[in-house]
Structure formats: C-alpha cells, structure tokens
C-alpha cells in the first residue's frame, strides 16, 4: 500500500465521518473535506499522529454560497494533506489555529483582510496585506467585489 493510501486509511479509521471524503489525487497529494465542527480535531491528529508537522498555508475561497478554507499541511516526506472546511457566507467565523500551528498567524490575517472572515483568537498584531486606509467592508477576494465601488466610497 502506498504511503498516501496508508494515511487515508488511518484518517478514515480514526474519523469515520471522513469515509468517502478523502481523495488521493496523485502521488503526494491528499485532499479531504470536513465540517467546521471537526476540522480542528483532524488537524491535531494530522500533526500529532501522522507527522504533518508543517503548515504551508491557509487558503480562502469564495464559493458564492459559502467560504471554503483549505489548511495545507506538509509531512516532510513530500506528501501534502489539504484539509478543506467551509463556513457560512453570511456570518463567516472560524477559530484561529495558531495554538496548533503558530505560523498560521499571517495566513489567517489574509482571510480577515481579503475575505472579511472573522478569525477568533487571532493574536494581537498588524493587519495584512491591506493598508490602514482601506475602506471598511470592501473585501477584494470576494467574488462580488467591484473595484469601482472602491472609488465611489473614497474622498478623491
């Protein structure tokens, strides 16, 4: 059995709700979908039991009816585990994973600035990447963001 299949089995074994939700796309690429209530457990398990010790990044996506969040981990063997969860677009809130992966800090700030997602428990710090005078309520990576709206709200 390949290392990827082995990881898939271990995950499904530990978390029965992940059955059918794990895909080995190709060598070194595993994707899984998990609900917002369980994603932290899965993250912890991946770190502590499966040796996914490195967080590459956190990627936000606007799926129009929801926001998707991908937590992208690396094992050092080259195998990447991409853990996808989703949150409501109307009230986008997610817990910070900085207690598990301290370097999630800057990637979670991107979610705040570019998608308007509230990240609970994010340590105090500077915003990233937008400037301080960026108009409130304008989230560039949302699909309904229009650059013309930006100018309308500004004092020229």
């Amino acid at each position: 059995m390949s290392a990827e299949e082995d990881i898939k089995q271990k995950l499904a074994g530990r978390f029965p709700f992940l059955q059918d939700k794990i895909t080995v796309k190709r060598d070194r690429r595993i994707f899984l979908d998990v609900g917002i209530d369980n994603f932290k457990e899965v993250l912890q398990f991946a770190l502590k039991e499966l040796n996914f010790t490195f967080l590459c990044t956190v990627t936000g996506l606007d799926d129009r009816d929801r926001f998707s969040l991908m937590y992208q981990l690396d094992q050092g063997s080259g195998i990447m585990l991409n853990i996808r969860t989703s949150i409501l677009r109307d009230d986008p809130v997610v817990d910070s994973i900085t207690p598990i992966f301290p370097n999630a800090d800057i990637y979670e700030r991107e979610l705040v600035d570019l998608f308007g997602i509230k990240v609970k428990g994010l340590p105090k710090g500077e915003r990233y990447p937008l400037p301080d005078d960026w108009p409130a309520g304008q989230y560039p990576l949302r699909k309904d963001f229009k650059i013309e709206d930006l100018d309308k709200k500004e004092n020229i």
Binding site: L130, P131, D133, W134, P140, F145, I147, L150
Partner: protein, 144 residues
C-alpha cells in the same frame, strides 16, 4: 537662460545626484538600477551618485506601479527634493502600471501621483537602457 542657471545645470549635468525609490515593484528594475552601479556598467563614471535622502537629490529614479500604501510617501519624497528636480519613471510599471494596471491596490504609473520628466520602459529596464535614458535626460537639460 541666465549665467547662474547655466552653471547649476552644468554641474548637475556633470554629476547628478540620484535617489532611488521603489513604489511597490517586483524588484527587477531596482536590481538593474543597482547593477548599473557595479563594475560592468559603472554608472558612477558618469558622475552619477546614489544619495540616501531626497534633500540631496537632483533626480528621483522611481520604479514600481505605486501601491496605495506608498502613494503618500512618494509625494512627500518629491516635496522634499529641492528645485530643480527631475523624476525618471524606470520600467514599464512606473511608466503605466505595466501588467498591474487595473489591480485594486495599484494607482498606475508614477505620473498618476507626481510629474515625470523621463520614461524608460522595459520589463525590467536593462542597465544599458537606463544609462541611455539618463544620458538623454541630461542632454535635454543641456539644451535648455
């Protein structure tokens, strides 16, 4: 022009003091500017000196498409330069915004914010093009 202006122009022509400022560029142009000062191109033999403060600069070499974050500082730097002063837009981004034109955090070319005296396109500008552009600017001062 008067004799004093002629003398000032002559000395500026002989050794322009240059301030380099990056307004959010990818750094390619900035590296080529620094490369121009290394032995192979040696911009310094034309008397061009890189200065650290706007107050001593005759020429502002500006790269980048001007991000929102940097717009104010660019204006301030321009204001701090003593007259007569010249601005050179180095690279396609500085000329027009380049590939970043239309991006939400970008103003566009340098001339959206401050007046530009010379445009040197290129992505990035090669050291040779930079020297060519600077010499043309200095020649045009001579003709005034």
């Amino acid at each position: 022009m008067g004799i004093v202006s002629k003398v000032i122009n002559w000395s500026r022509l002989k050794s322009p003091w240059v301030l380099h400022f990056n307004t959010g560029a990818c750094n390619a142009c900035d590296i080529e500017i620094v490369a121009s000062l290394t032995p192979r191109y040696d911009l310094e033999r034309f008397g061009v000196q890189l200065k650290a403060t706007p107050r001593h600069a005759d020429i502002l070499l500006c790269s980048g498409p001007v991000t929102r974050q940097v717009k104010d500082r660019l204006c301030r730097i321009y204001e701090q330069m003593p007259e007569p002063k010249f601005v050179v837009a180095v690279g396609t981004c500085a000329c027009s915004g380049g590939v970043f034109r239309g991006c939400y955090n970008i103003e566009g070319g340098i001339d959206m914010v401050i007046p530009v005296s010379a445009y040197i396109p290129g992505c990035p500008v090669s050291p040779k093009a930079l020297m060519d552009g600077l010499v043309k600017l200095l020649k045009s001062l001579e003709e005034k």
